[in-house]
């Protein structure tokens, strides 16, 4: 049996109600429609195609396991959803079914001050967690752009990327272990070894990363043990202006190569991004025309070390053509980076009129050497879209360090999309462009996605090209672990595995 059709048997609903209690099984239309999409651009004219049949809000790992077992018995898809903030549609149902909302799993289960770990439910938000950790002088430094609204479970399901990962690591480094409900309903703990709070182990296969970033296709994490750091004494976030992108790109390398121990990340803004910000961002509207590209960096740590490192960064920036933009912009803009989902999204028609748009954020991982070429080719793709219709607007590019050596960067082109005007024709244009954008990343030796995942329409077609034989291993694993195809069916093109069975 393969869970690919919509609709839930009444008996399945009865069994779900027995496990959860009727208050945590919701079938009302608004509750289901609210959980059909994520903030990424969405084909609003096809909303009904993505609406789940039922929403469940389990309160324990045991309840999640029972839900998955029921789904297997009745052949119903299960789509896990944490904050619903992911930008690759991981939480968007493709085959209707049960929407497994993890928000009730939001407890701080254990705080181990001696080993500096905590154990939380998958529905815990990082900002709320850090409010609890702050009084103990600790912090959990997993810092996505959705920091105030994304949840630990989603970070595991997408193998998230952190803004300050160059200092503290990304989600894969910060999550020590997690409880995981397999597609069979069996509960397993994945971590480094069996201890649960270990930073390194070589016992057996290293399974933890395999069960991260699968977008719910291999089960669902319900509880995680996290590595904690001392809350930094000090933060420094200088922003520098440059005459052009090329100079900024070279300076970025020099800044990263200062190799300061407190260096937590750097970002480059390209010329289209600065032009976009001049439209309606208070920090950039008053900037002179000579400000055409930017770099910012951030240091976190002990105050004396941050000061010494900061001076070294300032010197490197100045020697490479930078002009410091001042404390007000540097501090204000950095603080806003923790919360980019709060940004108002204004696009423009070609005539300059303001339109409300949703935000597409491409997120390839690209080597430093390839950034200029990828940038040029991506802007050309979006310019072709823009030339055809006002539905698309180029909002410029950022690139963020993913590691302190500067080897590769989360490379982002932001595209505004006028959702209200989407129809099948413009959506098809978008899907073609997504495919082209992904192919550029792969052609330059990059990866389609650094942090979101790569299972949206268009880009997903390029995943086998990027992964080669690795994609065949994905298919083999999916078939072995989820023989009924209940976990998030349709994602990553893995339905094909089961279609072969039907033949």
């Amino acid at each position: 049996m393969s869970a690919v059709a919509g609709g839930i048997d009444d008996r399945a609903l009865e069994e779900l109600a027995q496990v959860l209690g009727s208050e945590h099984l919701i079938t009302s239309k608004p509750a289901r429609m609210h959980r059909a999409r994520v903030p990424a651009p969405f084909p609003v004219h096809r909303w009904a195609d993505h609406t789940p049949d039922a929403v469940v809000l389990p309160g324990s790992t045991e309840e999640v396991a029972e839900i998955v077992k029921i789904a297997n018995r009745f052949g119903v898809p299960v789509v896990p959803r944490s904050g619903g903030t992911g930008l690759t549609d991981g939480a968007v149902p493709l085959r209707h079914g049960i929407l497994l909302d993890l928000k009730r799993l939001d407890r701080l289960i254990e705080l181990d001050l001696e080993n500096r770990t905590c154990t939380v439910g998958a529905g815990m938000n990082m900002l709320k967690l850090n409010e609890r950790l702050g009084p103990h002088g600790l912090i959990y430094p997993d810092d996505p752009a959705s920091y105030p609204c994304s949840l630990v479970g989603g970070r595991i399901g997408t193998s998230g990327w952190s803004l300050i990962g160059s200092r503290y690591g990304h989600t894969r480094d910060l999550v020590l272990s997690f409880l995981h409900v397999l597609p069979s309903g069996e509960v397993v703990r994945f971590g480094d070894g069996g201890g649960g709070k270990l930073a390194k182990s070589s016992t057996g296969y290293t399974l933890k990363p395999l069960f991260m970033g699968h977008q719910g296709t291999l089960g669902v994490a319900t509880e995680a043990t996290l590595k904690l750091y001392p809350k930094p004494e000090a933060e420094l976030s200088p922003f520098w202006a440059f005459d052009d992108y090329e100079t900024a790109w070279q300076a970025l390398r020099a800044i990263v190569r200062t190799d300061c121990a407190t260096f937590a990340g750097a970002v480059i803004f390209d010329e289209q991004k600065v032009r976009y910000l001049r439209r309606d961002d208070e920090a950039y509207i008053p900037q002179p025309e000579s400000v055409r590209a930017l770099v910012c960096a951030v240091l976190y740590g002990n105050e004396d070390e941050v000061r010494v490192g900061g001076k070294r960064l300032m010197r490197a920036a100045r020697e490479n053509g930078a002009r410091y933009l001042g404390d007000e912009i540097s501090q204000g803009d950095w603080a806003a980076r923790h919360d980019r989902y709060a940004t108002p999204l204004h696009g423009r028609t070609k005539a300059g009129q303001v339109i409300a748009m949703s935000w597409h954020c491409e997120d390839a991982e690209i080597n430093w050497t390839e950034l200029p070429a990828v940038r040029r080719e991506w802007h050309e793709i979006v310019a072709r879209l823009r030339a055809q219709t006002d539905v698309f607007d180029d909002w410029g590019m950022f690139a963020y360090t993913s590691a302190r050596t500067g080897v590769s960067y989360l490379t982002e082109i932001d595209v505004g999309i006028w959702e209200q005007e989407l129809d099948d024709e413009t959506w098809a244009l978008w899907v073609d462009a997504k495919r082209d954008i992904a192919r550029v990343a792969v052609a330059h030796g990059g990866s389609i996605s650094s942090c979101h995942g790569a299972c949206r329409e268009g880009e997903v077609d390029v995943v086998p090209e990027e992964l080669g034989g690795g994609y065949e291993v994905m298919r083999t694993l999916k078939r072995a672990l989820d023989p009924n195809n209940v976990m998030n069916p349709g994602k990553y093109g893995l339905d094909g595995v089961f279609e072969e069975d039907l033949k």
Binding site: N130, R279, Y300, E303
Partner: protein, 82 residues
């Protein structure tokens, strides 16, 4: 006590042009030129105090975010002076 005058609340000060696409009515608060919001964005009367409240709340939020992440914020200007 002076009587409440609604127009005093909803009539904003004369704008100052800041760029081709932005104006300023209150100090440090930039607004998209209303001429660019005629065709697709519905306009409404907006109390002056609410404009200022939203801007102040944003500043409060950013200050809170700094405190949330670190105890002190080091000044880049200070480092350059040193």
């Amino acid at each position: 006590m002076s009587p409440y005058r609604r127009e005093e609340d909803v009539v904003p000060p004369e704008p100052q042009r800041m760029s081709d696409v932005a104006i300023m009515r209150f100090e440090h608060i930039f607004e998209v030129d209303p001429a660019l919001m005629r065709e697709h964005v519905r306009q409404q009367d907006f109390p002056n105090w609410d404009t200022q409240r939203i801007a102040a709340s944003r500043t409060d939020h950013l200050d809170w975010m700094h405190r949330h992440w670190a105890t002190v914020v080091v000044s880049g200007e200070e480092l350059l002076d040193e």
